[in-house]
Structure formats: structure tokens, C-alpha cells
Amino acid sequence: MSNTASLLLTLPELILSVGSIALLMVAAFVGDKATRGISIAAVAVLMAATISAALPMNGGGVAFDGLYRADAFSGFAKVLIYVAAAISVMIAPRFFARGGALRAEYPILLLLSSIGMGMMVSSGDMLTLYVGLELQSLAAYVLASFMRRDARSAEAGLKYFVLGALASGILLYGISLVYGFTGTTLFDGVAVAFSNGLSTGEMFGLVFVMAGLAFKIAAVPFHMWTPDVYEGAPTPVTAFFASAPKVAAMGLFVRVAVEAMGPAASSWQQIVIFSALASTVLGGVAAIGQTNIKRLLAYSSINNVGFALFGLVAGTEEGVAAVMTYMAVYIVMTLGSFLCVLQMRDARGEPIETIQSLSGLSRTRPALAAAFAMFMFSLAGIPPLFGFWPKFLVFDAVVGVGLWPLAMVGIATSVIGAFYYLKIVKTMYFDEPAASYAPVTSYTEGTLIAVSAIIVSPAGYLAIPALGAASLAAAKALF
């Protein structure tokens, strides 16, 4: 395939690269005065990329001799990623406006990070995987410490960087072992080599690659960075971390597990089973004692990643489709929750993060409390809210391959998780009112909360046919 044809397949990345570099020029010459314009342009660029990513769903292909794949799977994941990134751009201005900390680089770094995430879900080679992952991570480290005068933000960035570098090292070591023992970095080639049985070296490579990727999706036992980073990073950045990179890393995990290491499924299945179980249990138990809402949502994200991994355990088309549906619904729930957290600010506009401050929110701000309660019920997976549906699909896939005991344990752990979500609802509805929050002044944020609340409400079930078909098409692209 010629380079031109290959380049056309990478159209979303192309749009984002050209857009981010052009906006970077504007930022360099005009300065922070242009931030508003750059943010709007960045959202427009992300929307253009979303549309171009949705196109290959009907065709797609392999570009650059197998390095890059544009298929239904990457298209589905990219739509989620770019939309989540666009929302992260939109919710930033009001949060940063307070300290005058919003600089023109924020939307640009998000764009560059989106390029990396697109490369991750489209990768057909270990090298694309690694470069995409680094591009995403490096931008994320900077975003985490974006409020550099804030000690917690700087701490979050440093912690993320050091642990992320460790994970990259582990991943790279695994990749080099896989390359050394199979002689190729292409996913197809690795799959061919793995289908003749695993040698010890290949086994080690597989374990290290899985460990490195588990760090990026924050699955237990590689989750320890999550609460600290989520707590310290500025709230819009935390919302971003909990949504787009999670989808990208999960998409990458699924692609590597199925496409490259599919023939060795029996070997990685036990790793994924352990990680899924440990994530759901730890995410549920450790969240109970939290007093900070951002830390609590960090544990909630660990918990949710565990549930999504159950779909991968099944290893079937239905399982992978369930993972994709799960991620789609998960980002709506998590972005909605963080949008509500963004509204938690005192009369002077300082952000508050304690769960205590939510007391009696139903009386001071009934609409916000209702939306927050819906996100919490939905994250807990309580029907009839939409969050129930992906959990059902995931366990359905697990039962479909006959792993009954695993599904039973998984459902039991989801009850543990429900406890702390309900605790927040109880605080909002049954406790004595605390000091009221400042009123919502941003129409964007109000609208986004309303839209995500409608999606997670029972009305979301109307989207099941479309979402299910897209997820299944995405999953079929991998098998």
C-alpha cells in the first residue's frame, strides 16, 4: 500500500496533528489571550476527528505495512475518546479561571494526547502501541501538574510520572522479550508465533506486557497511583484521566490480548481473571473509608475497570462487545459524576472536595442532587438506570463461556461497591444540610450534566440497539 493511501487511513490522527500544531503556533504568537479561541478551535478539531474516525466503520484497512489499523474497533474507541477529550476541553475554563491558571497549552496538550490515544487503539504493532502510549502518557503527566503553583497538583504530576515511567519500562521489557523470542513486533506475527505454544521467554514477555498495560488501565495490582493522582490533579484533568485514557488503554489491552496474544488466551486468562476480581474487590472495599470525593471516584474507576475486564475474561466476541459497551456507558457516568464534582464550590468559588459537604444537597440544590444520585445509582449498576445494562452484558458473556463461579463472585463484589455509592446518596438526601454551594454559572456544564443524566436514565435503553450493533461490529473486527 502506498504511503498516500496509508496516510488517508490515518485521517483522524492527521487532522489532530495538523490542528494541534496550527493551534500551537497561535498560542506561541498570541499568548494566553487566545485561550478561549483555541479551546473552541480544539473542540472543533476533535469533532472533525470524531467524524473522520467514524467513517472507517464501513471499510477501513491496514496502513503502513500493518503498523496501523483503521477498523470498526478503532473507530468505535476513537469516537468515545475524542468526545471525552472534547468534553474535558469544554469543562476547563471555569475551573481554571479562578487562579488564572488556564493557559493556551491546555487544549493543545489534550489534542496531542488524543493523537496518542488514537494510535493506541489503532495499533497493529508493538512499536505503534508504545509510541502512542508514550505520547498519551507524556501529555497526561504535564496535565496532571498543570496547576504548578498548587503543591498537590505538582505532587500528582511527579507521582504519575515516576510510576508511569516504571510501567513504561516494564512494558518495554515485555515487548523486547516478545520481539526477541518471536522475531517480530507485528501483532499478526506474534499471534502466529504464539500459536505454536509458549516458550518460557514468550511467557515472560506476555506477563510483562500485560503488567505494563494493567498499569495504564489502573487495574489491581497496578492501581496504587490512581487515588493520589486523581485527587491531586485539577478536576477537569481528573475527569479526562478517568474517561478518555481509560477507554484508550482498555481498547489497547483488548486488542493486544485478542489480536496479538489470542492464541495464548489460556495463559493470559488467569492474569485477567485475577486482575478483574482484585480490582472489583479492592475498588469496592478501599472506597468505603474515603472522605474525598475525587479519591472515591478514583476507587470507583478501579472498580469499574475490573468489571470491564470480566468481559475480556470471556474472550469471545460477545465478551469484547460487552467491554466496549461498558466503556461507552462508563465514560458517560464518570464524566457526569466529575461534572457534578466541578459544581462543588463554596461561596467564594473555591472548590470543595469533601463528601461531608454534600450533606443535604437535595434541599439546597435539588436538581444537582438528583443528577448526582442518578450517576451514583448508575455506577452501582442498579436497574432501571443505564449503568445496569453493561454490567449485565459483561456477566452474561462470562456465563456464556461457562465461568459460573466467576460471575457469582463478580456479582457479589458489585454489592460491596453499591454500598459506598449509596452512602453518597444517603448523605445528599438524608443528612442535615451543610453550607450551600455557589450557583451554577456555566450553561455548558449545566447542559452537559443534563445530557449525561438523560443518557444514564432509563431513556438510555433506547440506545441499546445502536450501541449493541456498534459494539458487536467493533468486536467482530478483532476476531
Binding site: N3, E105, L109, I115, T128, V131, A139, Y141, G183
Partner: protein
């Protein structure tokens, strides 16, 4: 035969010096062990016939280590007088290290001229007719073009990040304003006076 001996020599020293890099209590010693580790890793690369990567390791990493060294000296409170005190006492160890490095270089060159280590069949073959650097160049700019561009973006992000996190406009500094300097005409700045004797000039 000589390759096998050289391999075990390099491999042992890489591991030992890497361990000592993190075990050494003195940060300056850590940096020195790191340099030794890099040199030996370069030796391993020479053994497998990747002489270009060996050069890169030495040039790039030893250059980077020099910067790292500077950081150590600047950031940490290292008492150099105390370090220098034992110069004569530790001279034999220093000489020993120099000898080891010299012996390694001789080993590496002779092992290289004896031909590279035969690698297992799974590893992608090294093109025999063109030098390493040509082979890498043709791959990077054709087959792996996409990843090469991606790596460029990674570097761009690193640069933006460094500027975002460290650059700030200080108040109270007096930078040079070239346009103001160029705009200034002699008649604005120069005044001709004709002072009387004994009165001087009023400025």
C-alpha cells in the same frame, strides 16, 4: 570463542555496575557506575553486529550522563573536598577500572573483527551488504515512517511540557527591547552644550 568470553564479560559488568548504580551511597559514584554500565551495553551491541547503536549509546548516553553529572553536582550537597581526600588511597581502584575499560575495548574490537555472535533464527536478519546506519535509515524513513513521526510528536509534547511547567514571566526584570533601541534617534538622546569654563554641565 572470543565472542562468548566477551559477551559474558560485558554482560556481567553491565549487571554489576547497574546494581552498583543504585546501591552506591555517593551520587557521584552512582553516575560513574552508570557510565560504566552504558559502555558495557555498547560493547554488547558491538557483539551482535549493531555498531551504529553502540555508537549511539556511547555518544548520546555518555553525553546525557555528563548533563546528569552536572545536575548531581548542582542539586545535591556533595562535599568534594571530602571526596578528593581519598584520591591517593583509591588510586589503585581507579587504575583498575581504567584497565578494565581498556581491556574491554580491545576485546570488543577483536571480537567484532572476528565476526558477530550468531543469533537465533527468530531474530530479523541484519543486512550484510550495507552498513548498519544505512539499514536503519532506510527502515526509519520508509517502513516505520508513521512511528518516526509519532516519536517526533512525543518530543514536541516533551518540549511543550517543559515550557508549560517551568516558564514564568518574572516581574522586575529588565530585558533588552531591540525595537526600542533601534527606534532611538541621536537627536532624542544627544544634547550639545557649550559649557562655560568653571561651570560644568547640568545633566
Amino acid at each position: 570463542m572470543i565472542q562468548t568470553i566477551a559477551f559474558y564479560l560485558f554482560a556481567t559488568i553491565v549487571i554489576a555496575s547497574a546494581a552498583l548504580t543504585i546501591l552506591a551511597r555517593n551520587p557521584v559514584h552512582s553516575v560513574l557506575w552508570l557510565i560504566l554500565a552504558f559502555f558495557n551495553a555498547a560493547g554488547l551491541m558491538v557483539l551482535v553486529g549493531a555498531e551504529f547503536i553502540a555508537m549511539l549509546l556511547v555518544i548520546v548516553y555518555v553525553g546525557a550522563v555528563a548533563v546528569l553529572f552536572l545536575f548531581v553536582v548542582m542539586m545535591l550537597d556533595v562535599d568534594f573536598a571530602a571526596l578528593r581526600a581519598g584520591f591517593a588511597r583509591y588510586l589503585p581502584i581507579g587504575v583498575l577500572l581504567v584497565l578494565v575499560l581498556a581491556a574491554e575495548m580491545i576485546f570488543a574490537v577483536s571480537a567484532w573483527s572476528a565476526g558477530a555472535i550468531a543469533l537465533s533464527a527468530t531474530v530479523a536478519p541484519i543486512p550484510a551488504e550495507v552498513p548498519n546506519i544505512v539499514a536503519i535509515g532506510t527502515l526509519i524513513y520508509t517502513r516505520y515512517l508513521f512511528i518516526f513521526e509519532g516519536a517526533g510528536l512525543v518530543l514536541l509534547v516533551a518540549m511543550i511540557g517543559a515550557i508549560v511547567l517551568t516558564h514564568r514571566t518574572r516581574s522586575g526584570v529588565r530585558p533588552q527591547k531591540v525595537s526600542d533601541q533601534v527606534k532611538r534617534r541621536p537627536q532624542d538622546a544627544v544634547r550639545k552644550t557649550d559649557p562655560l569654563v568653571g561651570q560644568g554641565v547640568e545633566l
